[in-house]
Each structure stands twice: as C-alpha cells, then as structure tokens.
C-alpha cells in the first residue's frame, strides 16, 4: 500500500489480495476487486481522526478564533470536526482556548477527567500554553500543562484560524502514529484521574500538600515572618553538591563513550 506500482490502483488491489486467496477464505469473484487490505492500526486511526469531535468549550479571547475556525470561512467540517459537543463524555478533543484562571482550573480538570479516552488536549494560544500576556497576574495559571497533559501547543495571541488548523493536523499526525497494541486505554490497568486542584487561600494541587506544608509550617514560615512583603520568598531550588557531582560523572561517562577508541 505504501508505493504505487505500475499498473495503477486496480493492479495493486489484485496483487495484494493474492496472498489471502487461499482455501479457508473464499472471496467471491465479483468482490475481489473491491477488497482492500490494510492494517488494523491504519483503519482504526483513520476513522478516529476523521471524526474527532471537539468539546464545545471556550475560555477567553482565543475561543472567538476557535469559533471563526469552525465557521464557514475556515470550515472545520472538512476534517470531520464540525460536531462540537457540549458534553465531555461525547468529545475526543479539548481545546483549552484562552486564559486559565485559578478559579477555572478545578472545572477544567474535572471536565478533562470526564472525557472518555482516547482524549486529546490542544492548548490554544499563549495563555493556555504559558500564561501569555497575563502570566504575572495573581489569579492566572501559567499554562494548563501545570495541571493536565497537553498534546499540542498552538502559539499565538490569538492563533489565527490557519494556525489552529495546522495544530489540528498535528493532532491527526499524532493519532496516526499510535498503535492499538500499545495505546493506554486498552491496557488492563485503569488510567489515573488527575487530582482536582483545590481553591484555598491560593490554589493548591493535592499532590503537593506535603511540599506546601513544609514551607508554610516549617522553615518557610520562619522566613516569611521576617519578610515584610507578607508573601513567601524562597531561594531558588538549586542542585546540591551531591547532585552536581553525579551530573559531572554522567557527563564524563558520556564523553568517554563518544571518544573514538
């Protein structure tokens, strides 16, 4: 199937069918020209990518460009994506289209958890990718990937519809590369839910409770008491001498391996 032999498509079909024409499977003569042989992966991925339903979900300005992408001029329907589903259960793809605020993160994570696998996330625009123009804001999250896994990042503020479509093509490529044998959603173990962040005095991730405790109740608290700003200022998380030594050893080994003998 990968190359087009001489003789055109018809010849190709016939040639490929030959090896399957043995006694156990009888392909009627009139059907023989109509049978296509392919791999399960290919047909599985092709059908998934050609009917990928996005979640109808807009966060901010970028959502306006998402709507423009979906409407007549740019026409997402060409890619089988025009059916935007308001329910996460029915959708395969989430556009995080806009600024993610701390107040909104719990809802987004919950929606993400509710989406059935396989699910893909496109982070649309500078805000969803890294905070964008509002990064320094006190209620703005510096990128949705701090909370949920992202498949494709589309830069821009807002990305033009063309850029978004290019991002979607990349999602399609990603889908095409997956193999049904290895995809996580057919494995035995259940895929994990992302823990939902909690709105405290500031947002916190349940996975980081111990880390935060150490700093609010432990050594960080003492530091904060001497700090006039009221916030906690901590030293950069520098590598310890031990870790540095380790890195140096690894580097030395690597360099040694690269040397021609």
């Amino acid at each position: 199937m990968t190359t087009t032999p001489e003789g055109g498509f018809q010849a190709l079909k016939e040639e490929q069918i030959q090896q399957y024409l043995h006694d156990s499977i009888v392909v009627p003569e009139e059907l023989q020209a109509n049978v296509l042989v392919t791999t399960v992966d290919k047909i599985y991925n092709w059908s998934r990518k050609a009917s990928m339903w996005p979640l109808l979900f807009g966060l901010a300005c970028c959502a306006i460009e998402m709507i423009a992408t979906a409407s007549a001029r740019f026409d997402l329907a060409r890619f089988g994506m025009e059916v935007m589903r308001p329910s996460p259960r029915q959708s395969d793809l989430m556009f995080v289209s806009g600024t993610v605020t701390k107040k909104m993160v719990p809802a987004i994570v919950r929606i993400y958890n509710q989406m059935a696998e396989p699910r893909y996330v496109v982070s649309m625009g500078a805000c969803a990718t890294g905070g964008g123009p509002f990064k320094e804001g006190y209620t703005v999250v510096s990128g949705i990937d701090k909370y949920i896994p992202v498949d494709i990042y589309v830069p821009g503020c807002p990305p033009t519809p063309e850029a978004l479509i290019y991002g979607l093509m990349k999602v399609h490529e990603k889908v095409e590369r997956q193999s049904i044998q290895q995809v996580p959603w057919y494995r035995k173990e259940r895929s994990e839910f992302v823990p939902i962040p909690v709105l405290g005095p500031d947002i916190f991730d349940p996975r980081q409770v111990q880390l935060i405790r150490e700093h609010t109740l432990g050594e960080g608290a003492a530091q904060a008491a001497t700090d006039d700003g009221g916030g906690i200022t901590l030293k950069p998380n520098l590598l310890t001498a031990e870790q540095k030594q380790q890195l140096r050893e690894i580097k030395a080994r690597y360099m040694a391996a690269k040397q021609p003998a």
Binding site: A68, G98, F134, E136, G137, P201, G230
Partner: protein
C-alpha cells in the same frame, strides 16, 4: 486645556455651596485640577448627598464606582486629605446630558462606607468588586461577597501592599529584563513550581473550604397561595455553552419558573487592573484589546481618549476619521455577532450565526491589513493611530460600507425579524421598566431598547461624532425582541456613519508630518514611530474619567496619574460587568430557557466582565 481649567474654577465654588446648602457639611473639600474636578464628601453625609443629587438634581445614573489605594502615592497629597482609601463615584444625568459629577470619599483602612445600593441599586456589583479587591466594607450592602476572586482567597489583591506570587518590582520595565534580558520566574524559585503563595502557618491538610453563601437560597420557597412545591437550585456553568464563556448562573426554580437568579463571575479574572498599574501607559494598550475581545478597536479608542485627555494630546484630523471608521466597523460586527448569538441562544443553533458573521470576516480582513492582527488590533496610540491606512483600503471599506453591509443587514432583517419563533420567544420576555434600568446603571443598547434615548456619542460627544448625521434609534418595549431589533437598527446607523466618514476622510500629509499621528508627540516624549527623546509618556498629575459608547454600552476608563511613567490607578468601567446587575431582576418570573436568552441579549463578553 486651559479653557477647561478656567471653566472649572468658575463653576466649582457654586456647586460646593449649593450642595452644602442642601446637605449641610457634605462637601469637605474640593480638588480642581486641569483635567477633572472632584468633590470630597464627608463619609457620614454620603447617603443624604446622593439622595439629594438623585432626587433634586437629576443625577440619576451612577456610572462608575471604584476605589484607589493611596498608600504609595508619589505625587502631592490631594486635597489635603490623607486617608488611605479613596472611593470614587461618577454620577451622570440621563436627562440633562453633559459631564459627570465626581465624588470622592476618603476612608482610613478598616473603616466602612455606607452602601449606595439603597439609592443606586446599580452599585451592587461595583461595591462587591471594591470589597473584593480593596477590602472596604459597605454597610447596608445586601450581598457583599467576593465576586472576582473566590471565598477564602487570601487578602485583597488591589491594595498597593499586596504582592502576588510573580511580584518582581512595582513598575515596568523590570530591571531584571533590561538591559541584560534576564528574567526571574517564580516557577523556578518555588518548590511547587506554580504561581501561588500561601500564608504562613496555613495547613493545607486541615484546611476546609468556607461554605459559600449562595444568595439564591434566600429566595422564598413558594409564593403564598401556590401549591406547595419544592424549589430547586439549578447551576449553569461555568462550562456551559450558552453562557458565552466561563460564567455561572445560580438559579432557584420552581417548576420551570425562576424565582431567584444570581450571577457568579471571576472565572476569567485576569487582573487587568493590577497589571495595568505596573505597566507603562502605552503598555496597557494591547491589554485593552483583550477586554472586550470582539471590539478591540473600540477599547483602544476609549483608552487612548482617556490618556489624551489626561496628557492634553491633540489628534490630527485624519486620525480622528480613521478612529471613527474603526469604531463603527467594530460596532457593526459586534451587533451582527450579537444577533447571531441571540439566535443561537434561542435554539437556532449556528445557522443564523453563520450568516451573521459572514461580513465579519471581511471587516477583520480590513483590520488585519492595517494593524496586522485580526482580533487584537492594538491599533491606536495616544495622539493617533499606529500606522496609516494601506493603499486601496478606503476603496475596499467603501465597498463594504456602501454595498455589502447594508445588504447583509437587510438580509438578516428579512430572515429573522418576522420569524415566528423570534417573535414568540422575544415579545414581553425579560422586561424591566426604564427607570429600573437606569437605576441599575445599565447602559448601551439595553437602555435604548427600553425607550431611553441615551447615547454617549450624543450626550457627551467625543472624537468627531458631532460632525456626522446619525440618529439614536429607540424602541419602547424593553424586551428580548426589542433588544434584538435595536442592534439591527444601531448597526444600520453605524453603517450610515461609516458611509459619511469614508466619504469625507481627508488624505495625504499635513505639512510633512504624518497625518495619522499627532505631531505634539514629538515634543513631549518622542514619536511612537521612533523619534528622539524618551519613549515613555508621563502625563501630569491628575485623574480622569473618560467614557465612550462602546458597542456593549458605556465603556469608561478611570485613570489616576502621579506624574510617573506608570498609571497609579487604572480602572475599567466595563459595560458587560455592570449590565449584569440587571440579569437577576430581569430573569425572575421567566422560564429557565428564557434566562439563557436574557443573558444572550445583554450581550456580555467575559473578558470585560471579569477583566
């Protein structure tokens, strides 16, 4: 400038006296600067004064209510009053037109102010916002709660001594980035790698979320004499396709009838104002794009006008025309978009909207051609626009304004206005009497759909609107149908202005200077195109409130300058936010499905609601 100052100086004592006659001891000081005059009000006399102004002086419209924290003010102390917080009221009169009356109430930290909600119910959301961001308590407010942040949030973020997790310095440009280009990111510093700080001694393990006060639970459970049924609370959003973004409505329903509705916002609170105080004046321009992200041009213009008023910058003729053209194009596309999405909310999913936004793409192409961006144009500058129109632009715009747009509007009219469903769902739904709309500080098409002929373009003309011939269409019904139809009529008027502006626009160069940006820019702080001298605008000390008629209503900027390169206070009076005051009162008594359309017909944009 000087004319205005003398006018102010003459008028000021009279106002002070007359008001003090009516309400003895109310005015305790006065502050007349070049830009705007302000009266200082004794905190205990605020309510009697407001009542007097509303009842006897026809100041019936509370446009803006906000607060400034003077903790670190660099300029002179204003009016000799040195309390920390300054609550600012801007009152207008819908009957008498004309300018505003500015009242300032100075309060020390921890003090309370009397709530204006009993006189101007429109203060409701604005007072909540001030409480949320500044921590000022309003005594007598029916429902003082955090609207933009969440219950349990630590501190009041707009205070000058409140530092966010990413705090680096008080003002931009940051020394760490310039000239060496380094940066300091909190993610690299905090062990949890996130933009968050926690108060000392706070224990996440034992922490419990405070139970939010849901105001709809206060609603009566059933009306006397009705069948005794249970009422339920239904939550819409924040992820709900009909809420036009991330917005939440809490409704209490009995059967399908709404008996109470409370909007809940803040899901897109992006800290415009805090960031705006750290930016330089010009740096805020692209941020205004992202307020009402459907009409970046109108927002640009409003901000440019406010700063020009503050700094006394003149705008050349051609630039004025360009600005009007851009603003009216964006009004047209906003109203067409609005109509499409009202229909969406009525259940005609997508098809009408596709028709309505067809011309939008053509307008966006025009925007893109001059500004480089479809949506976030960032096109205006103080004293003009950033670059001239491209060759052939005017012809293409004329084609659009003379042929395409009128045709498109006629088509929408033909297809939708007589539609039985639009009429059936629209007539009589979401009605509020005109007096209530004014009292709730609602502005824009909503007012005019209820028969109030109030438009800032006529009431307090800015730019060159006094040169064009156009009407302020009004309808008398004040229901959903009228709100739909008024947008069509207004779009037609906008097209009318466009036709005149595109006909009259002057071209060419004016004595060697570019015709699209002010020559005075050169003298003060270097041109925007890159001239000699400093690049940073430093307006003189003072404050300004400037409002324009944005497509969604009255968009105002309240700016305070202490003479430095950054605004001391940057406040946006956004129409979408304040129009939401009316959502609850309008929806009560109608069905759940109507609430969706009522929200749609207010035409909110969440970027502007939450800022």
């Amino acid at each position: 400038m000087s004319d205005e100052a003398t006018m102010v100086a003459e008028e000021a004592p009279a106002v002070e006296h007359s008001l003090n006659d009516a309400v003895p001891g109310a005015i305790i000081g006065e502050w007349a600067e070049e830009t705007e005059k302000a009266l200082f009000v004794a905190p205990d006399k605020l309510l009697p004064l407001l009542r007097h102004l509303k009842e006897n002086e026809a100041y019936d419209y509370l446009s803006s209510l906000t607060c400034t924290d003077y903790l670190s003010y660099g300029g002179k102390k204003r009016g000799g009053i040195s309390e920390r917080f300054d609550v600012v009221y801007h009152l207008f009169s819908t009957a008498n037109k004309g300018g505003s009356l500015n009242l300032h109430v100075r309060v020390p930290e921890g003090d309370t102010v009397d709530s204006a909600t009993s006189i101007y119910p429109g203060a409701n959301l604005q007072e909540s916002e001030v409480y949320d961001l500044y921590g000022i308590h309003f005594a007598g407010h029916p429902n003082l709660r955090r609207v933009l942040t969440w219950d349990g949030f630590h501190g009041h973020p707009m205070r000058k001594d409140w530092k966010e997790a990413y705090f680096e310095e008080d003002a931009k440009p940051f020394r760490s980035r310039h000239p060496k280009g380094g940066y300091q990111w909190q993610e690299d510093k905090l062990p949890w790698g996130k933009n968050a700080t926690y108060p000392p001694e706070w224990d996440p393990e034992t922490w419990e979320k405070p139970i939010s006060y849901v105001p709809v639970s206060q609603a009566p459970h059933h009306k006397p004499g009705d069948i005794d049924t249970d009422s339920l609370v239904i939550n819409f959003g924040p992820h709900h396709p009909s809420t036009h973004g991330v917005f939440r409505m809490l409704t209490r329903v009995e059967g399908e009838t709404i008996i109470a509705l409370e909007p809940e916002m803040g899901y897109l609170h992006r800290n415009h104002e805090k960031i705006g105080e750290r930016n330089t004046w010009l740096m805020n321009m692209p941020f205004t794009d992202r307020l009402d992200y459907i009409n970046s041009m109108s927002n640009n213009w409003a901000y440019a006008l406010a700063v020009e008023k503050l700094a006394g910058i003149e705008v050349p003729e051609r630039a004025e025309y360009i600005r009007v053209i851009m603003a009216e194009f964006s009004r047209t596309l906003n109203h067409m978009w609005g109509i499409g999405f009202i229909l969406n909310d009525l259940g005609a999913l997508q098809t009408p909207a596709q028709y309505a936004i067809e011309e939008r793409e053509m307008i966006l192409d025009l925007f893109e051609e001059v500004s480089g961006a479809r949506l976030m144009c960032n096109y205006m500058r103080f004293g003009g626009v950033v670059r001239d129109l491209t060759p052939g632009w005017v012809e293409r715009a004329r084609y659009l304004a003379n042929e395409r747009l009128p045709r498109a509007l006629d088509m929408l009219d033909r297809l939708l206005s007589d539609n039985e469903i639009v009429r059936g769902r629209g007539y009589g739904v979401g009605y509020l009497p005109p007096e209530d709309l004014i009292a709730l500080s609602i502005s824009g098409p909503m007012l005019r759909a209820a028969g109030i002929k109030y438009d800032v373009r006529k009431a307090e003309p800015y730019g060159i609107y006094d040169r064009f011939e156009f009407d302020i269409p009004t309808l008398s019904d004040g229901d959903i149908y009228a709100r739909y139809y008024i947008r069509l009529l207004e779009a037609r008027e906008a097209v009318r202005i466009l036709q005149q502006a595109l006909r009259d626009i002057p071209g060419g160069e004016v004595q060697g200077a570019p015709a699209y940006a002010s020559a005075t820019l050169d003298q003060g702080f270097g041109t925007i195109m890159g001239g000699k001298g400093g690049y940073t605008l430093r307006p003189p000390e003072g404050e300004v409130y400037h409002r324009v008629e944005a497509p969604k209503g009255e968009l105002g900027f309240y700016l305070v300058s202490d003479g430095k390169a950054n605004p001391f206070r940057y406040h946006v009076r956004s129409p979408s936010f304040i129009n939401l005051n009316g959502l609850g009162p309008m929806s009560v008594g109608y069905k759940v499905a109507d609430a969706v359309v009522i929200l749609g017909a207010i035409d909110i944009v969440l970027g502007e609601v939450d800022r």
